[in-house]
């Protein structure tokens, strides 16, 4: 890889996607909680869509925040700066 720019890790994309999916499914779950569907799925009473979507959002947000691109770029800048400092010294 001859591109010097630090790559955004795949974990960031995964985090974003899981967060958005979690949010969408949570909205759907809350709607189904308030307006129960005519033909509910098995075990609908335990509202798997709500707690599963919250889990997806938590995992997604953890990845998104931990691998946020500006953090990666700033860490790259710091690495470069420390390398230059060591060269100067």
């Amino acid at each position: 890889m001859n591109n010097d720019e630090k790559q955004i890790p795949i974990w960031f994309f995964i985090g974003c996607l899981l967060t958005v999916y979690g949010a969408l499914i949570l909205c759907s779950g809350i709607y189904n909680f308030l307006v129960p569907p005519e033909h509910p799925v098995a075990l609908a009473h335990i509202h798997a869509d709500i707690w599963w979507s919250i889990l997806l959002m938590v995992v997604g947000l953890l990845y998104t925040i931990k691998y946020w691109p500006s953090k990666i770029k700033s860490s790259t800048k710091n690495e470069k700066a420390s390398k230059e400092m060591s060269k100067v010294s």
Partner: protein, 738 residues
């Protein structure tokens, strides 16, 4: 401007997915209920479209990181162990795999779990600990590349050409299977499914190369878990835990699988003492040496699609640890594949509370009145997953297909460019030229795959044995590579001849078990045409009325190998077109073939019922049929000396040691024998031909390959430690579920 094009494309896909019928004439879905198996809501569609958008964004973003041949074909050899491990296991975890092995578990019980235990883990650990150092240190870009270094051009060309051909065939078959499944499950048009998925794969692989494929595989792994893990969790809650599920399975299989009702569905090993005590029709020898050694080691240690994922790790330790992570993740897949297959035997019920019976594709009721084994996972998705979650499950399925395609395409581009184009067509080009060749061959690979997928529309039976042929190529490859790595006396001529003769032996065995010197006669069957009027006579039964006779009053019928006679006793032609007149014709429930009675199957996918004047459908066997005057008959008599979809028990007894061996057992034993042939031929030829000088074997063969010093590391980072941990877990699981 370019971003705008991608947004436009995403919007187009969104439109095609939401309104497939307006893009292309939609066909009727073929679920037994008459409609699609699953019904998606708007939120499910948004979830699916979001996936397509993000994979295109990733492909577009990664283009700038694929500017040299090493970047494009080997992802710059900079993968961390986690990405290598996730990609390694994800490349294997296609939707055909998850749906297929759930179906196998429904059919074979706990024996289906062996694919994730003895059928994978020992081989993956062997690759990590013993084989990866050779692949890694010799800096090969592919498995055929290793054969070139070890044996010479002959073995490499044979492996390279066979691999590119088979890879592209498998990619096309995967594309076709995806389109077919999405059509059956969701009613989507097959053309739209093929083109949308393949154009998306073409864009992101052509832009980002292996890096893009690997990123999407990692993404797919997360999606599969997010979309599938709820099914076993909710299933176990519903049945009341593991022990209650196992007890219910052993009760329900008496109804669901009556032909093997005495077989043990709940054990891993205790039912492998003989061929007829388990539903797979295999014994322990076939399981250990066929699946556990030949097929498993061939697939995991030498299939370049798998090996490519880990030889691109940033250093040897990462490659080894990544592979071991892959082994651990492979065992976890049991939860989302095997467990749903078992749950299907318990929680899928008819409205009256009796177990729902799923049938094989070959059953006359399949797709008419009954779902098939392959539907078990989608049925469970529909059973447990509501709006949004269902979209996530379907997205995981589509992602599995697409990443499988992308994996095959990226492996194809690498082997084509480095092992076919470079050595045989253009040896002295610049790196930029090979990079462009990689991009063009990726694109070409996608289009050949599309062509293969469309070919399967007309020759769909190819699909049935394509995977088997791949195994029969890979097992000899493993024999050749393993002797090359661990025996320095193996000569270049022996490598080539051992490999070639073993491939020929595999194909010969395959041809032998499908050959019928006395003729093969397909099971006699009759299909009643759409416009026919039919009276169905039934007798009442507490478990549902039973059909006792079928009377076709008008319309036409197609007969294959079905004897037909007039009421007067006069026998009619069994081949040709004619109309029944002067009396009624009868078809018996069964016919005599050699020394046994074979039941006649009757298919009626859509007929008019005479008594109720409503449209009905049924599929039965062993029921007598009467044809009234005026019914048109199209009769055919089919016999063949060679039948790829059928096994000749008189021949399988010599390959799989028993006439009772079922198809899976025959494939396992064939893999074992082709490995034996490869090893024996390679060793014998080595003794009469000249070996390579020792100096040329440096970094290629055990004993002549010094391991690089990667610096000190704590014990908990050593590959051998984690390999021991995974081995211990494997042994424990086998003991617990013995």
């Amino acid at each position: 401007m370019r971003q705008f094009k991608y947004l436009l494309f995403a919007a187009l896909m969104f439109y095609m997915l939401l309104f497939p019928s307006e893009v292309s004439a939609a066909t009727n879905a073929a679920g037994p209920g008459g409609g699609s198996l699953l019904t998606l809501s708007a939120i499910d569609m948004v979830v699916i479209v979001l996936y397509f958008v993000i994979v295109l964004i990733i492909g577009w973003y990664l283009k700038k990181y694929a500017s040299t041949g090493d970047d494009f074909f080997l992802a710059g050899r900079k993968m961390t162990m986690w990405i290598a491990g996730l990609s390694f296991i994800s490349a294997n975890l296609s939707s055909l795999e998850t749906m297929g092995w759930s179906a196998m578990t429904y059919q074979y019980g706990m024996l289906g779990a062996h694919a994730y235990l003895i059928g994978a883990i020992p081989a993956i650990l062997f690759l990590a600990v013993f084989m990866l150092p050779f692949y890694y240190i010799c800096r090969t870009h592919s498995v055929p590349g290793y054969l070139k270094l070890r044996y010479g051009e002959g073995a490499r060309s044979l492996a390279g050409i066979s691999f590119t051909f088979l890879t592209i065939m498998v990619s096309g078959a995967s594309m076709f299977a995806m389109a077919k499944i999405l059509h059956l499950l969701l009613g989507w048009d097959m053309n739209v499914s093929i083109w949308v998925s393949s154009i998306t794969v073409a864009i992101y692989v052509t832009l980002g190369g292996l890096l893009s494929a690997v990123f999407n595989e990692v993404l797919q792994y997360f999606l599969i878990w997010a979309g599938s893990l709820l099914i076993p969790i909710l299933g176990l809650i519903q049945v009341g835990g593991w022990h209650k599920m196992m007890a219910a399975i052993q009760e329900n299989v008496k109804v669901i699988h009556p032909t093997v009702q005495n077989a043990d569905f709940t054990g891993l090993w205790r039912n492998l003492g003989s061929f007829d005590t388990n539903p797979m029709g295999i014994d322990w020898f076939g399981m250990v040496f066929g699946l556990g050694l030949a097929v498993s080691f061939g697939y995991w240690c030498t299939d370049f699609l798998q090996v490519q994922r880990v030889i691109v790790a940033k250093d040897l330790r990462s490659a080894q640890n990544g592979t071991i992570i892959g082994a651990a993740l492979k065992m976890l897949v049991l939860l989302i594949v095997t467990l749903p297959g078992l749950l299907g035997l318990v929680v899928l019920l008819n409205p009256d509370g009796t177990p729902m019976i799923l049938v094989p594709e070959s059953d006359p009721r399949a797709g008419i009145t009954h779902h098939t084994y392959n539907d078990v996972l989608p049925l469970l998705m529909g059973h447990y997953l509501g709006p949004g979650l269902l979209g996530l499950g379907v997205t995981a399925m589509i992602a599995g297909f697409m990443s499988g395609m992308a994996g095959n395409i990226s492996a194809f581009a690498t082997v084509w460019t480095y092992d076919v184009y470079k050595p045989l067509i253009n040896k002295k080009a610049h790196d930029k030229h090979y990079l462009n060749m990689g991009r063009w061959s990726s694109l070409l690979g996608v289009f050949i795959s599309i062509g293969t997928a469309y070919a399967l529309f007309f020759f769909s039976n190819i699909l049935e044995y394509l995977q088997v042929l791949v195994f029969f190529f890979i097992v000899p490859l493993f024999g050749t590579v393993i002797l090359g790595m661990f025996w320095k006396r193996a000569t270049p001529a022996a490598g080539f001849w051992g490999f070639l003769i073993a491939i020929l032996a595999s194909m010969s065995m395959w041809a032998y078990v499908h050959t019928f010197p006395d003729g093969y006669y397909p099971q006699p069957n009759m299909s009643i045409s759409k416009n026919a009027v039919v009276m169905v006579e039934r007798t009442p039964d507490p478990k549902g009325d039973k059909i006792t006779r079928i009377v076709v009053e008008s319309g036409s019928v197609n007969l294959i190998n079905v004897p037909i006679s007039m009421e007067s006793g006069q026998k009619l032609e069994t081949a040709g077109n004619f109309t029944i007149k002067d009396g009624i014709a009868n078809i018996l429930a069964s016919k005599k073939e050699k020394d046994r009675d074979v039941q006649i199957r009757v298919f009626a996918p859509e007929v008019m019922l005479a008594d109720t004047h409503t449209v009905g459908k049924f599929g039965v066997e062993g029921i007598p049929v009467t044809l009234k005057p005026g019914v048109e008959v199209c009769a055919k008599h089919i016999s063949a000396k060679f039948a790829p979809a059928a096994f000749n028990p008189d021949h399988t007894q010599y390959i799989a040691r028993s006439k009772k061996a079922m198809p899976m057992a025959v494939n396992m034993y064939s893999g074992w024998w082709s490995l034996v042939v490869c090893l024996v031929v390679t060793i014998l030829v080595s003794f009469v031909t000249k070996p390579k000088p020792v100096a040329e074997l440096k970094n290629l063969v055990m004993g002549l390959t010094p391991l690089p010093d990667e610096g000190p590391c704590p014990w908990f980072q050593k590959p051998i430690f984690w390999a021991a941990v995974v081995t211990a877990v494997l042994v424990l699981i086998n003991i617990i579920f013995w």
